[in-house]
């Protein structure tokens, strides 16, 4: 077990280095130096060369890459010349709000998807199952921003229950937490998209388990149907969800980005989006690498968690 975790962790480290190298080279190719951002577009070539030399942007790519990797190890993500702050400080400021949005949506989607998937499996091929499947399939094929637009129209403009965008007065994570009305639509939109994919896997996992002998045994020994479902089926059917959640981090990041832009909610996604517009490549690089690291960590955590949760998974 320990050996397995160490081996997996070493692979994860190598993959992380690979992510950093590829992202750096790609971004470096797109934007070799931020000199014209700092000194202005009309800077003379000599002044630009001098600035590049002073800040190390005239060195060879491998040298710059090594410096960058060295910084990453110390969790320095570079400096945003557009915003005049270190990227780490910007991330620290925005990460809480993004994490709140993403985790709230994740928890909400699991609360809905797990019972829904089990119910669909138990009542398979019923009218309710078909309806739920149809809704899931549609949501699954729907871009999150379109769903968001529909919900804004319905609940913000027509019914006036929730605000159409998150108010500018919500600046801290705590405020986001204590103003549930402000964040309801973003969280629900993000969760709905996740429910669509989670409940499909949940349904198929529950179907697999329903046909297993241990369910038949539980029924044969006279357990009530409720106990069979709650105590035996539910717990075993949830196992694939561990892997699924671990693998869904890129999806969550993407959803996060779109929802934050749509609802104008200040988080990492909106920071990244604004950096796209201003071509602030250090932020783009840092968020891409961070997303990659989170993805690797998600996979690793899921792999370890599944071996803990499911003793049948042999290493």
């Amino acid at each position: 077990m320990t050996g397995y975790i160490i081996r997996r962790a070493m692979v994860a480290v190598i993959v992380t280095i690979g992510i950093a190298v590829i992202s750096f080279l790609m971004l470096h190719y797109l934007s070799p130096s931020p000199v014209y951002t700092v000194l202005g577009a009309k800077t003379s070539a000599a002044a630009a060369a001098a600035w590049n030399h002073a800040h190390g942007y005239d060195r060879s790519e491998p040298a710059q890459l090594l410096t960058y990797l060295g910084q990453l190890v110390r969790l320095h993500f570079g400096y945003s010349y557009k915003l005049g702050q270190s990227v780490s400080a910007l991330f620290k400021e925005n990460a809480g709000r993004s994490a709140y949005l993403t985790l709230a949506a994740l928890v909400l989607s699991l609360i809905i998807a797990i019972p829904l998937g089990v119910a669909q499996a138990v009542k398979r091929n019923s009218l309710g199952d078909y309806t739920a499947t149809a809704i899931n399939f549609t949501l699954y094929s729907m871009p999150s921003f379109f769903l968001g637009l529909i919900l804004i129209q319905l609940f913000a403009l027509d019914l006036g229950i929730f605000p159409p965008t998150v108010s500018d007065s919500v600046t801290t994570t705590w405020q986001a937490f204590t103003h549930p009305l402000q964040l309801t639509l973003p969280i629900v939109t993000l969760a709905a998209i996740n429910v669509a994919s989670f409940s499909r896997y949940m349904r198929s996992s529950a179907l697999d388990n329903l046909a297993q002998d241990y369910i038949r045994l539980a029924r044969a020994k006279g357990l009530s149907e409720r106990a069979v479902l709650m105590r035996h089926l539910l717990r075993n059917s949830c196992l694939p969800m561990i892997t699924l959640i671990g693998l869904s981090i890129p999806t969550l990041l993407a959803g996060n980005l779109l929802i934050e832009v749509l609802f104008n909610y200040p988080g990492l996604g909106l920071l990244f989006y604004n950096a796209l517009g201003t071509e602030d490549y250090n932020i783009l690089l840092a968020y891409t690498v961070l997303g990659g690291i989170l993805t690797v960590l998600g996979n690793l955590t899921a792999d370890v968690a599944i071996t803990v949760a499911d003793p049948r998974v042999r290493l």
Binding site: I14, V15, G18, I19, I22, S23, M26, L27, L30, Y130, A132, T133, N136, F137, Y140, S141, M142, P143, F145, F146, L149, I150, I152, Q153, P164, A196, S197, R200, Y201, R203, S204, L207, D208, L210, A211, P240, T243, L247, S248, I249, P250, T251, L253, A254, L257, L258, V261, L262, F272, Y273, L276, G277, E279, L284, T288, G291, G292, T295, V296, N299
Partner: protein, 320 residues
Amino acid sequence: MTDPIRPVVEGVPGAGGGGMAVRLPLESTPPEGGDVQVIASGWRLALREFLANRLAVVGLAVLVFFVVFCFLGPVVYHTNQSLTNPLITDLPPGGSHVLGTDDNGFDELGRIMAGGQTALEIGFFASFIATVIGTLWGAIAGLAGGIVDGILMRIVDILLSIPYLLIVLVLATKYSATVFDESMIIGLFAWLVPARLVRGEVLTLRERDFVSAARVMGSGRSRLVLRHLIPNALSVVIVNVTFQIADAILILAYLGFLGFGLQYPAASWGDMLGSAQQYVSSGYWWLVYPVGGCLVAVVLACNLVGDALRDAFDVRLRKR
């Protein structure tokens, strides 16, 4: 080790996937290595199975409809999609503009057709690029084995760990002006999943007798890959293509919505939804729902067809 009491999963409506979400194998049993059938009858069986699936036929019909609608529609329904007309902006549906006009005075129905053209073109082209690269990469890795396989697949692992939307967006800040650019950007990072699938398939195929026979008869590596392994791994690839198309159209919509789509005056559905966003509060519903509905319909149709193809090719799920 097919489970004799495998539950009622025929059809698995709603299982599997498309979109950007993760696709786990839904069946816990690994693909088997032993039960090869005559290829021709396998394909015919799959076709019969596919046509028996009503949802799949509906999905296919929707796709055909949109191809006709987007590419032949403009021939019948002439609209001006290149010059803005400030005199007729935001007209509600009716009269000579069936679905009204947008904020530039473009006819909305004509714009949906034009946007559909780019969506379908990029969807097909990007998935074509991704499939060709992915198939070759996976086949080479699976066949070579050893250290080559290790290196090729680690590269796939690394690229797959970089969040797809983020890296595509970064590239789109510089190159996203034309249909070709956009297809390249999307296809360039979409070949990773087919590469994995094909490698897995090749790993089981290369242990089969007919591959050994081909080797004994003196087939070279390239002949082995092109004539024996790829054709037999094709079912996996075909299923994946449909999901690739759905993914590419969704990603294109994301790029357009975020403002990094095709350059004006080219139309794309994501761009249209992005610019319509500010008009939701004005009640200009015709700028939001028709185009959004078309987007969902096309992606949904691709996913339905993909699911049905997977079920049709999967021998273990087939009703006997």
